[in-house]
Symmetry: C2
Subunit: 147 residues, 2 copies
């Protein structure tokens, strides 16, 4: 019998995600990227940092429409985080690629994520945090397959 806080799974996930997001946004703002908002994270989360991605691919991964992703990408392009290049393999398509500035943010996001993991590890204990991470990973993998 697990001791149950009364929080639903949904509430728990929401709490943790918002804690992680807040930490990330503080870090980005402190590093001078205050013009990045939460919604933009979706782009950095799903973009292929080396080869670039297509708009529709990004939209699919993020689970939003092409138009919505276009809106986010327009902004990031204006602010110099990404660039749109013609896709040599398809005349309809454009490759969305991180600029140097965008790559710096990409790296910082991953660093910040590590910090969050570390902070939670400090609270929870290293073993438990490792276990949690592993379970989250496994579940996400299974959900991805199950579609």
């Amino acid at each position: 019998m697990t001791v149950d806080s009364g929080n639903t799974l949904g509430t728990l996930l929401a709490m943790l995600q918002s804690a992680a997001l807040e930490h990330l946004q503080r870090n980005l703002a402190a590093a001078g990227y205050a013009d990045l908002r939460v919604a933009h994270m979706a782009v950095f989360r799903h973009i292929d940092a080396e080869r670039g991605s297509r708009l529709s691919g990004l939209a699919d991964s993020a689970g939003i429409t092409k138009q919505s992703m276009g809106y986010l990408v327009d902004y990031l392009e204006e602010q110099g985080y990404i660039e749109r290049l013609p896709d040599p393999t398809d005349g309809r398509s454009k490759l969305i690629r991180l600029t140097a500035k965008g790559k710096a943010v990409y790296t910082m996001m991953r660093l910040s994520d590590g910090e969050t993991a570390q902070a939670w590890s400090d609270l929870l204990g290293e073993n438990k945090m490792k276990k949690l991470r592993q379970l989250l990973d496994e579940l996400a993998e299974l959900l991805g397959k199950a579609e």
Copy 2:
């Protein structure tokens, strides 16, 4: 050595949360509550189902402004999910309480959460799911304390 999918913690949490939310919304829509949107969940998540809650309390728990919570509550009141009663202990304040319709949704949300947990348990195995739930609970508790 954990096999790492390359997903950040933030990405993992986002994926799981969106899966849970989609399931919940499908359930609600199927039960005839198609007028409820994701943002409204925050109210049902934080409201005191027996005694009712204050607007500012709800806003605090949900991490949004009073005005934003007011916007959500206005809608739920129009649709008959909640009612605003004068708070007998404070003339400035109003008690926000679930109507019968609102209580049905409240219950359904918890049922749906159980279904999600069950589905994940089926994928992951009962023991691992139990463990995951326990770790999430523990971490949320610790984060709550640490503020």
